[in-house]
Symmetry: D2
Amino acid sequence: MNIRTDLAVEARELHPEDAQGVESEEARYGNITVSRITVTNEAGAVSLGKPIGKYITADIPPLSEDAGFDSEAAEALSRELDDLIPKDGDILVAGLGNNDITPDALGPKAASRILATRHITGETAKLAGLDGLRRVAVLAPGVLGQTGMETGEIIAGIAAKIKPAAVIVIDALASHRLKRLGCTVQMTDSGISPGSGVGNNRKEISKSTLGIPVIAIGVPTVVEATTLAYDITGSEPDSERLSEIEPRGSKMIVTPREIDTLISRAAALISHAVNCSLQKSLSPDELMMLVS
Amino acid sequence: MNIRTDLAVEARELHPEDAQGVESEEARYGNITVSRITVTNEAGAVSLGKPIGKYITADIPPLSEDAGFDSEAAEALSRELDDLIPKDGDILVAGLGNNDITPDALGPKAASRILATRHITGETAKLAGLDGLRRVAVLAPGVLGQTGMETGEIIAGIAAKIKPAAVIVIDALASHRLKRLGCTVQMTDSGISPGSGVGNNRKEISKSTLGIPVIAIGVPTVVEATTLAYDITGSEPDSERLSEIEPRGSKMIVTPREIDTLISRAAALISHAVNCSLQKSLSPDELMMLVS
Amino acid sequence: MNIRTDLAVEARELHPEDAQGVESEEARYGNITVSRITVTNEAGAVSLGKPIGKYITADIPPLSEDAGFDSEAAEALSRELDDLIPKDGDILVAGLGNNDITPDALGPKAASRILATRHITGETAKLAGLDGLRRVAVLAPGVLGQTGMETGEIIAGIAAKIKPAAVIVIDALASHRLKRLGCTVQMTDSGISPGSGVGNNRKEISKSTLGIPVIAIGVPTVVEATTLAYDITGSEPDSERLSEIEPRGSKMIVTPREIDTLISRAAALISHAVNCSLQKSLSPDELMMLVS
Amino acid sequence: MNIRTDLAVEARELHPEDAQGVESEEARYGNITVSRITVTNEAGAVSLGKPIGKYITADIPPLSEDAGFDSEAAEALSRELDDLIPKDGDILVAGLGNNDITPDALGPKAASRILATRHITGETAKLAGLDGLRRVAVLAPGVLGQTGMETGEIIAGIAAKIKPAAVIVIDALASHRLKRLGCTVQMTDSGISPGSGVGNNRKEISKSTLGIPVIAIGVPTVVEATTLAYDITGSEPDSERLSEIEPRGSKMIVTPREIDTLISRAAALISHAVNCSLQKSLSPDELMMLVS
């Protein structure tokens, strides 16, 4: 099967008939439509090809076309995140992906705008008017080819050391449909599924591998070329066709030409939504100023 | 017609029967095959869809896969460039494209490794052991959306000021075939054709717009998604299909997942070949050291 | 004389007695103090060591310490710029300096946040709701060592091509006092003086070299080590001392350790002030969104 | 006492009489002079202000002035490293510092050129002709202000997970003398001392905190402004003078104006020396190619 998607909402489209163990509902925040899919049991997980958990998908105005920062979208994302992120305890935020490859750089770029606060304590915090902040640690672990380590190994090692209550991972995703690139944000409490992501295929990063809740936030930034080919022709490419689409076995990806605008706006949007969810003692405007 | 290519060798493949006004020959340097196509008259230009001029295409080992710098390929490119670049006078090298978009960043990244020497004169040059260098100026003019100016306007303005004997432009290209991404270098004395390039479509930059020879060097780094779709189906996409491939009119591009490796190696290869062609008083090893 | 400063207000401090041909006044915008020095004739120019013109200096809260974007400071700068920038005609904004050296990167980083609008015309502008914008072109010309060209040559060449009504140059400056690093913005209609700036010493860029008004905006980001030494000892360093401060003739500079925060905030502040002065049809909030 | 230095060789200069517990010898490799200081006991540690261990200091041609990569220096460093790095077992290389601040970016930039090999195993390695490589993991952990975590915590967490035989940390250093900036490489088996480094002052990272050998490699890239002031005047600055040198308590640093060239060349030199020491099955030229 050549349709590759990291989005639960697209997996659902591909199997609309499989209702068992999959529940869904919709919500609206002004112009933002939110779809909440819950995989409630193993049957649902098998039919959807996604682990048990909540999958919240927000449809937002296209990030590569719209005229700037969308505070309405940020607020909608933040409110939905409130349901996924544990209320108490330290949080470790990890921006996954390769900062040197534009469509894979969402995680590192978002991480660079997450307010790291774990070290701001005691007198320092008071003097800066920053007491009452939730303790947040931030990491951009890089990718396997740069580090020789699986991202999950790095996060597990650090989590064992600093013992956060939960991990939030931010990652660029692959979608089935080109129309969803930069128009969709997926938030889930099921972590990172094996094989997802843009650059290196990820190993699983989840509560079952780390022992603590893993909230994953992603934006689709690529469609795999083989998925597009399948979609256009409606059938598996034969081996000759496949060698045209992936010459010498090279993976090919499809992205908008304005991918850099898409990535920097997605990073700004998601980091702001996460900061708002984590730091309730500061207003959105104060948070925006602190990271600028 | 939905096949978009900046490569003369691919335009030739699409119209193999149109022999009038188009001549071609092959050469070999070790493992490197070089194809030289010459468009000799207007008939050839119309049939090929490329202006009159020489188009030299080198087939090189895949930049995103091979294990490092390929000095054999660099030497082959340098020797072919010797035939295109005027022997005397100052040279202006311009790296076209957007440094923030990986597949469009070939030009700026190559420009950052071109040895700028125009200011190294007199005693300074002698003291540094660098007298006898050819005078070279280097520019990364950015793209229309960043500057509000056409790249050709910027180059024309600077060329009018510093009066080089020729301009060398380095640019990322679009090809017809995915298999050519990162495996091909095109060098031409016909400059930049209207509508070529990856990011913003370029306006013409050539001897007829600048009044001096314009040598263009490019590597294909993307295939347009519409070209891939045409290629797969063998027919024009209808409007429904088109709106799937280019949702909301967004241009979509296909690149290798290892595009960052491809770009940095292509930039190193081309800048070294240009440096070797321009600075005959230094050895390839000395030049490599000076830019590291 | 070993005191090096690009600030008129510091030149004035060094020669407080020389009142001839130099006028000054103060203004306040909330917490922001603005000092306006006018060099009215050649006598003033000689005594101050700065060309005839207006020098507006705003004292702002320390950029490397304050907790984020300071919209009060931005508004004060914007209002003062209104007096310096011609009301009509196209504007060329040039961000001087080397993007790879943090204390010299103010110009390029500010330029990347200036709204380029010269190409947004006709139907495109209307569709984007952006008709009525002032036409602005933007450039980051790099430095002599990268390009082989004087910055002034590049700007002159482009200005001759696109014929703006005025040029605005943004540059990092050297100051006499460490306490002014990141706490001062200087705006002048006298352009760039010979020998000013952080990285390469600039050649003059002014109305007399370009034929059109040149407004220069700068923030001190470094103190030269020899200036600090002179200041500490109150006398010229002898040759032995000098060879300790500038071993092998290497220029040494003093900067805050938080220089990266200083630079990115200064770039955000100045670009926003310039955007507000140039685009009166948009609100500060709309402008902030368009560049984010 | 206001003299701040991370170099054992400078601590030795400051206390030449304290011979107890400190041994030293010299060696030469062509133009490169190497000084080996060994702190043999607690008395030596107290007198030198450096922990017990070997401190190897190589005097190399100035990185910001010399004309390119210095393979003689690389070979000398690599040979000295052979004595410090354990012969067997996995190695974790960590590039300390802030990639956004030029003088503090040595660690991250060197790390990006260290060959990560831990994941290249089995068939993959054989196919790539890379079997027989030593297993190396690489990390750029960022700084406290970005992550909210001490660098030592991050390294400890990951080391506990992947269990390397030793850690190599690469870091920018502060020196006493301006003449040593970019002319000196220090290699030690005593790890990172508390308070060393350029940006954030480091906590100790050593065998006693990690339980495995920690080899630290550093190049001085800054002199603290207070150290320069002390050196010039020969006495502690009084509080008025201090408030001029560190206005509002801001730490000020002195660097060469050509700091970006210094950093990129130091990163290339040190990463190559480390790669050569770690990967004996590949030649220096093969290693150079693999990271380009």
